[in-house]
Subunit: 218 residues, 2 copies
Amino acid sequence: MYTPFESIYTSLRHRICLLDYPPGTVLRESQLASEFGVSRTPIRAVLQKLSYDGLINSQDGVGNIVTEPGDEEIFDIYQMRIKLAEWIGYARPRELTDQDHDIAIALRQRAEILTQKFEISEYWMINHDQHLLISSVIGNSAMRQMWDQLYYRAARMWYQHIRDNPSGAADSLLAETTEVCRAIYEKNSIALGHVQSNYISYGLKNLGGAGPRDAVSE
Amino acid sequence: MYTPFESIYTSLRHRICLLDYPPGTVLRESQLASEFGVSRTPIRAVLQKLSYDGLINSQDGVGNIVTEPGDEEIFDIYQMRIKLAEWIGYARPRELTDQDHDIAIALRQRAEILTQKFEISEYWMINHDQHLLISSVIGNSAMRQMWDQLYYRAARMWYQHIRDNPSGAADSLLAETTEVCRAIYEKNSIALGHVQSNYISYGLKNLGGAGPRDAVSE
DNA sequence: TTATACCAAGCTGTATACACCATATCAATT
DNA sequence: AATTGATATGGTGTATACAGCTTGGTATAA
């Protein structure tokens, strides 16, 4: 948010995740450069990072195309997120504090309001803030890095699904935030990870995928 | 290996992993540009990717400094590798073939020769080829990506340790390749992952770390 | 009418000149 | 002598001009 790079990178990632740039959109470097008031050079740096993140695909002579995740890829990413979530409590978690609980309570309140008047943007922001909270709990830096990366790769699909099927989304989110509150109140980071894993799993089910072939059975 | 980018990227990563560029080394863009016969621009792209990989650290006005992993980071990376390896067999593995077995047999033979005449470079190449083989088994693309990334982040530490303590390294590698051979012969990718997990765990122990504080106990 | 070959326009990839930043050196002052 | 300040030097970050690739359109010939 502070350096120009971070600011532009966050903006573009936000647009891709919220489908302002739906899959297939062609991003032109010169256009983005003029929009953000910089030259093509820093824009290219941002696009390269987005490319490493798997969010766009740069093709010489054509443009930077927002990727369209296939069914297999969606399944793979969700499977990884489910597994990683199970490990959150074992990845050198920092101690959960009363302040964490306050934040979680606030998120639950926002989710409760959402059940009365649903707004997709607010739904997203609650999800996002909860992700930031939980991510901050992970002490293992390698783990946290992967956790964040997969979150942003999965966000589009989830957002699209909720946008098309908003019924029940607020109730589910309220239930999730409630469970998160409890786990944090109990200062039990292992439980916190399990809650995450469960709700990601529910999400995968709702997305309609039990996997490309046979589901993973451990 | 084909595009100039891939070629330069692989070269520099190789040099960092094999400690040709030990931690603290300052990489100058113009110097690398003249060495590879290109301008600073593609060099910068490579360095940015290496920065995302956590192998270097770009500082404005100073240079691109090869990172020095701290004890905590080493432990985190190893813990993740141990956990991910356990999971290889469940990450949509492709079917193991007789050709895989032939490759594994060849690796074991090279390891056997290594026990008679140890050479650190050959040790590294066997390890690397084995990594490529096992990585190719992972069908879950998100998982494979993380697996590769952590491998290159951990390689330096392991290489340094073996270089300083070569005794027993060849025997251990021979044992590992033997177990890999067996798992592949049995076409059991779950076992293959467990073998990997075990030997990574042995490696962490040898590196001298049971963790920064208390070890993870699941 | 259809197919093919060429061409033009626009994009990304590259090279290079310039601006800004960090640091080491050296002189001036206390 | 020690310290502080300016300054020169060499680095990365940025802007821009150019080269190479892709693609859509068009003209021409079968």
